[in-house]
């Protein structure tokens, strides 16, 4: 009984819950889990959207799922928040780290305290129970290239942008895309190396201007950073080449909206942070309940219906494609 009591106080700590709770302790699955999602930065559209997902999950399951995040995208502030959560003895922490390396020690501490840890956008994390990724980077790159190839009719010259030549994810997308093009669309040619936009719209604009001047037959551009497609679209529009140069890439409706509307950008893709939030919480719950996660499993979240498990990392196929037709469904 003493043991049960301690468990109870740790879990719910409410006198009123004692009577109901007595039964719950014996069936761990039915207990209310406290899961906290720690995001990079609070208050920005992306993570507001994720919070919607977390709240939806809480409302649906009755678990105590909440989201917190620092006021600035600072790894040190995230470490403090996680320290606090360890002290509060939550059941699980899901985290979108600003810097995976910087969080390793504190996440290790959380695991030692018996807390389940689920990461997101951090497949390199070691101290996690699981890590949920919206998609496998290579698969996503191939997906974008397929879209570009369709738009270009499977032939012609194209160029690719990355935010920074040192950005790992962007390079993985683009490398896979190029490899896919070579294999499947031999009539398409990459005109030059990966171009660097510094994640600045004006840099993407200038480089696109230069591209068009140097390669007048250019028919397609694939962007990686959210600003790439916007800068490219502006340059194409100004050069009077609307519709002749197809533009596809990663961006958000809030960034690329005006150009999607005019059709200067053919398609943008991203992943829905709300869905990622739900998926992370589901995985955390399953870990708390001791359920095993297996390759090919259906998490019951759109885009995560047949996950690929690689070690501790789960990959979905959760990319969302947006064109002028469905752009009004997304407000971030």
């Amino acid at each position: 009984m003493a043991l049960n009591l301690r468990k109870l106080t740790a879990g719910v700590a409410l006198g009123a819950a004692l009577i109901v709770g007595a039964g719950a302790v014996t069936h761990a699955q039915d207990a209310k889990h406290s899961i906290v999602t720690v995001v990079k930065l609070s208050g920005i559209a992306w993570f507001n959207r994720m919070e919607e997902g977390v709240k939806e999950y809480a409302a649906e399951t009755g678990h105590d799922a909440t989201q917190v995040g620092p006021a600035s995208a600072d790894a040190a502030l995230q470490v403090q928040m996680i320290e606090d959560l360890i002290a509060k003895k939550v059941d699980a922490i899901t985290v979108v780290p600003n810097s995976p390396e910087a969080l390793e020690p504190v996440l290790g501490k959380a695991l030692d305290a018996g807390i389940k840890v689920v990461g997101h956008e951090a497949s390199s994390l070691q101290n996690v129970t699981y890590d949920v990724e919206a998609f496998d980077n290579a698969a996503y790159g191939r997906h974008l290239m397929e879209a570009l190839a369709q738009a270009m009719g499977g032939e012609g010259e194209y160029a690719v942008f990355v935010g920074h030549l040192t950005a790992k994810t962007h390079n993985e997308w683009v490398d896979a895309a190029i490899a896919y093009q070579k294999e499947k669309y031999p009539n398409m040619t990459l005109v030059t190396d990966k171009l660097e936009s510094n994640e600045q719209q004006q840099t993407a604009y200038q480089k696109t201007k230069e591209l068009l001047r140097t390669y007048p037959n250019l028919k397609g551009i694939q962007g990686s950073a959210g600003e790439d497609v916007v800068g490219a679209a502006l340059a194409v529009e100004e050069a009077g080449l609307d519709g002749k140069v197809k533009i596809v890439g990663t961006s958000l409706v809030s960034v690329a909206g005006p150009y999607l509307e005019t059709g200067a950008i053919d398609m943008i893709s991203f992943w829905d942070p709300a869905k990622a939030g739900i998926a992370m919480n589901k995985v955390a719950s399953m870990a708390i309940e001791g359920k095993e996660i297996t390759d090919g499993m259906d998490l019951g979240v759109e885009g995560y219906n047949a996950i690929k498990l690689d070690g501790k990392v789960l990959y979905g196929q959760a990319w969302v494609d947006v064109t002028t037709d469905n752009m009004n469904d997304y407000d971030f």
Binding site: T192, Q200, Q201, E210, T214, P216, G240, G257, P258
Partner: protein
């Protein structure tokens, strides 16, 4: 021979020479380079850098350095858009620029008070305010992109001064925002060359001690320098909005070293006392040319930064080395003539 040597020794001369040489090499590699369209592209691409650079030149001439200008520009541009969208009033485009300049001047005043008033080191202060202004922008004003900018801004962005076809039949245009650069250039040229204030700036940059002894109120002049530089940065920020047709609070910051490199390449010295409007524009022209034509020359992306670095070192280092050699030669000559 002597005249040629003199041209080489002057910073503008060497920059001009570098520019011509670079253009020749580019033209050989890709003949499409030698068209009026390229010139227009360069003018368009160097616009924001150019406006920033003029403000920074004045600061360098006074013996200071300002790395916070891009943060001032970003703050002014974003705050202006927030204010205008907040009051929901149809303002003429000129009002946007005035608001941005006033906000920029206000932020510049903070720099001025810290540097002129309290006598703190300019690099330390502006490094601090770079982070401070940017932090304030992202914390208090917001982090979301404003993509639905007012109609006046869009109309202004679509106003074109010159529109021509380039060698491959694409349209190349010079937007009306180029006039902002022209206006800032004229006003600053008058301030630096024909006003007492301008002379005071150079005097302080040459020797603060001497300037003080001849009765220049150094504190007051310094505050004014940073206020003007701030206003110019604000104008650059607003110009950036009209070019990109959106206000992204994460933009601009990060290009400050590029701007300073352009100014130094244009003959201003970090040690103060030197710097001209014409030289600065030439420096901006060269930096922009290097930054936006290496692709045309077929230089791979990974190499571009390397090449830019080399050109900056050569462009800024060579005049100093030549200058030193010339002085050395003079010194060697003197005893012979005396003897």
């Amino acid at each position: 021979m002597n005249a040629l040597a003199r041209i080489f020794a002057s910073p503008q001369g060497i920059v001009f020479f570098v520019a011509v040489l670079f253009a020749l090499v580019l033209g050989l590699i890709n003949p499409a380079f030698f068209t009026p369209a390229t010139l227009i592209d360069l003018a368009r691409n160097g616009l924001v850098t150019g406006i920033f650079a003029l403000g920074v030149m004045m600061v360098l001439a006074s013996g200071g350095i300002d790395v916070s200008h891009t943060a001032i520009g970003a703050f002014a541009m974003y705050a202006t858009m927030k204010i205008v969208l907040g009051i929901d009033l149809d303002l003429p485009i000129i009002a946007y620029f005035v608001i941005a300049a006033v906000i920029g001047a206000g932020l510049g005043l903070i720099n001025g008070v810290l540097i002129g008033g309290l006598g703190l080191n300019t690099l330390i202060v502006t490094l601090g305010t770079l982070s401070f202004f940017r932090g304030a922008l992202l914390t208090f004003l917001g982090t979301t992109y404003i993509t639905s900018v007012p109609r006046e801004v869009i109309n202004f962005s679509r106003t074109i001064l010159i529109r021509i076809e380039n060698a491959v039949g694409q349209m190349v245009s010079l937007p009306a925002s180029f006039l902002v650069l022209v206006a800032v250039t004229i006003v600053l040229a008058i301030i630096m060359n024909f006003t007492v204030f301008g002379r005071k700036v150079y005097a302080i940059g040459g020797s603060e001690e001497a300037a003080q002894r001849i009765g220049i109120r150094i504190k007051r002049v310094k505050v004014m320098i940073y206020v003007i530089a701030g206003a110019i940065a604000g104008l650059a920020g607003m110009t950036h909005v009209t070019l990109s047709r959106m206000a992204n609070p994460f933009d601009l910051v990060g290009m400050e070293l590029n701007v300073i490199a352009a100014v130094v390449l244009g003959g201003a010295r970090i040690t103060g006392g030197h710097g001209t409007v014409l030289g600065t524009l030439l420096g901006v022209f060269v930096i922009t040319m290097i930054n936006t034509t290496l692709l045309m020359a077929g230089v791979p992306s990974y190499w571009q930064k390397f090449v830019i670095g080399c050109l900056i070192i050569v462009g800024t280092g060579l005049p100093i080395v030549i200058d030193r050699l010339a002085r050395h030669r003079q010194r060697m000559k003197r005893p012979l003539e005396a003897g």
